[in-house]
Amino acid sequence: MTLSEPEATEFPVRLPGESFPPLQYADFREQPGLIRSTLPTGSPVWLVSRYEDVRTVLTDRRISSDPAREGFPNVARTGGVPTRDQIPGWFVGIDPPEHDRFRKALIPEFSVRRIRQWRPLIQETVDRCVDHLLSLGDSADLVSEFALPVPSLVISTMLGVPFVDREFFESRTKTLVNLKTTTEDERGVAVQELLRYIGRLIKVKQRRAGDDLISRLLESAVLSPEELTGVVMLLLIAGHETTANNIALGVVTLLSNPQWIGDDRAVDELLRYHSVADLVALRVAVEDVEIGGQVVRAGEGIIPLIAGANHDLNSFDRPDEFDPGRAARHHVAFGYGVHQCLGQNLVRAEMEIVYQTLFRRVPTLAVDADVTALPFKYDGTLFGLHELPVRW
């Protein structure tokens, strides 16, 4: 079997009313080898659905993350992963050893201990966002009024965005996410405005350093100001919609499983269970390589399905049940290998603090809709909710 043979499996789509991850993934895991599929762009691609195979793909040095390489899969019909020529510093698309310079510059900013130091500030931000929510009366859209602002305000504080610019910053980051209400042109404008803003912010910090991430990275001088602009943009985008989706889906799941409210173990299980970044880790083979009994030729695209791995019966008992009591720390919701999410300790802290604070301060919080009919992001690269109507 080769990748270009006809009759490939249709690219898995999430269907309204169907469970996520798609039921197909269980069938994929049962089949020998890998799954041949065709991307919405028309390009052929291998889908990887078993836990061990996904971890292999994400650690094999013969497999690249560089979107400029021939055969790299793009799940979006337009746009997709920027190359380093488009945005210098977009280091999720750079392979080692060049990648390591970017990653190493950022590691100290996201260590377990450093994120612990940020917790009081995250708490303060979450409290302000709950204040805002409560000021709206007795009902609201939790996504736009709470889940999106929290990560945007937290990262803007860490970056050292001045308080007066927070509204601009938050509105532009929100534009990037609202696929339903914004056009591609509007999102393109928002990206350019943010890149310009970040460039100006870097110039300000060059003149007058503060106690923030941008100032420290400028001081270390490992990255050029141009690279730093792209890195900051990446931090912003990578941590925004993903975190918001996790927050909103987590609220729905915890309200349906209230016995786990107040237990921080729920966080890693929510990350595993929802696997929002299912289609984010895109790869291409640089050499011929065997994965799960399948020979993948150089130049062929590979998509490790994160939700497939995280619901693999061979790695998780009763994988489709939400059970924070299980041992789930080995999930791959943040990916695996050298590109594993740098901000994962920040996400965990945000989710812990959000759930502790939200359910304590708004104990009557309830979903104000039929849970099965909620506007899930069936069509997006990331799984999540477009809106989440709640009342209290």
């Binding site: 994400l58 650690t59 990653r103 190493k104 590691i107 100290p108 900013e109 996201f110 260590s111 377990v112 201990r113 450093r114 041992a327 720390r329 080995h330 943040f334 990916g335 695996y336 290998g337 050298v338 594993q340 999410c341 740098l342 994962q344 300790n345 965990r348």
Partner: protein, 64 residues
């Protein structure tokens, strides 16, 4: 049990420090793995095994 780390492979995800804080930490300056106790036993040996399993970069290996 003995813990070995290859710091040149470390990508600073901090999974070891999160999973087994009695055994691993991250360096103040570089955020890379530091071993606090290289010869764990009992429940700490189980924590070390989990830390090695969740390490995304194969930095941690264990021997008897």
């Amino acid at each position: 049990m003995k813990i070995h780390v290859d710091r040149s492979r470390c990508v600073g995800a901090g999974q070891c420090a999160l999973t087994a804080p009695a055994l691993f930490d991250q360096g103040d300056d570089d955020g890379l793995v530091e071993v606090l106790d290289a010869e764990p036993d009992g429940t700490q040996a189980a924590a070390a095994a989990l830390a090695a399993q969740v390490c995304p970069s194969g930095t941690i290996t264990l021997s008897r």
